[in-house]
Assembly symmetry: C2
């Protein structure tokens, strides 16, 4: 089996609430980025990133790639495939936290495709996207797909 | 229910193999970062990030925060908690890809804790970390935890 490995590393110092992490990835796209509990649970802007934002980045990216592949396979010429992923972190009873829901908002410009067929394709892609499969059974994924109106000549 | 939302967005253009994405997150930590198929499946350095790298970033971050919390709760004073997550993307028969394994390599400096007890704590943390729970049943998680040798006075 041919497996590609992708790596990320964090160094954490301090307690959960007032400590912070420094997060980097192998590609260098993340390079000592700040991670804090307040960025995870509050509305603190400028407080860095958090696990759910990274999971949303993983899912949006994976879905966009899967959709591009599927549309090409089906003979469609797509452009500007936009995917926004929103990851919900629930506060639970007794102080716990849990990731239970991911929403994917999908828009694209595709000639020769109607809205119902696009939604059908998006739903199929959602089932086969590797990140969806990785969180299947644990996190509910909701896909909202719409075609962008094309300018008429 | 009090749910914190975290968002990431990508715009993809072109086919899967030779197109590319531009990935951003709400916090600004990712800002129009390049995503490519070759970064996902090959050894291409400088080709940007990929979904598995983002998933590794989510898991490393979540685990480090969970471990910091647990050690503090148990009365230990930890410093330099290092977590490296490696996400494996398998090529499957018939051209499919799947995320089946994540490895977490954990090192920390903690006074008054021995190696077996640290490993026990790390294994418990692994079960309760929200990202582990999100991928539970789909992705095998392996944790390798070691104490860093402390300098003796």
């Amino acid at each position: 089996m041919n497996a590609k490995q992708s790596k990320a590393s964090i160094r954490w110092n301090g307690k959960l609430e007032d400590g912070f992490g420094s997060l980097s990835t192998e590609s260098g796209v993340l390079n000592d980025e700040v991670v804090t509990w307040s960025a995870r649970t509050g509305n603190a802007s400028g407080m860095g990133t958090n696990p759910e934002e990274m999971l949303a980045a993983a899912h949006a990216t994976c879905f966009a790639m899967s959709l591009a592949h599927r549309l090409d396979d089906d003979g469609y010429d797509a452009s500007d495939i936009d995917v926004t992923a929103t990851c919900f972190l629930d506060r639970q009873q007794f102080g716990g936290i849990a990731i239970k829901r991911m929403e994917l908002d999908v828009t694209a410009s595709i000639a020769g495709l109607d809205e119902p067929r696009f939604q059908e394709i998006a739903e199929k892609v959602e089932l086969h996207c590797p990140v969806t499969k990785a969180i299947s059974g644990n996190v509910t994924v909701h896909v909202d797909a719409h075609l962008r109106k094309l300018a008429t000549a």
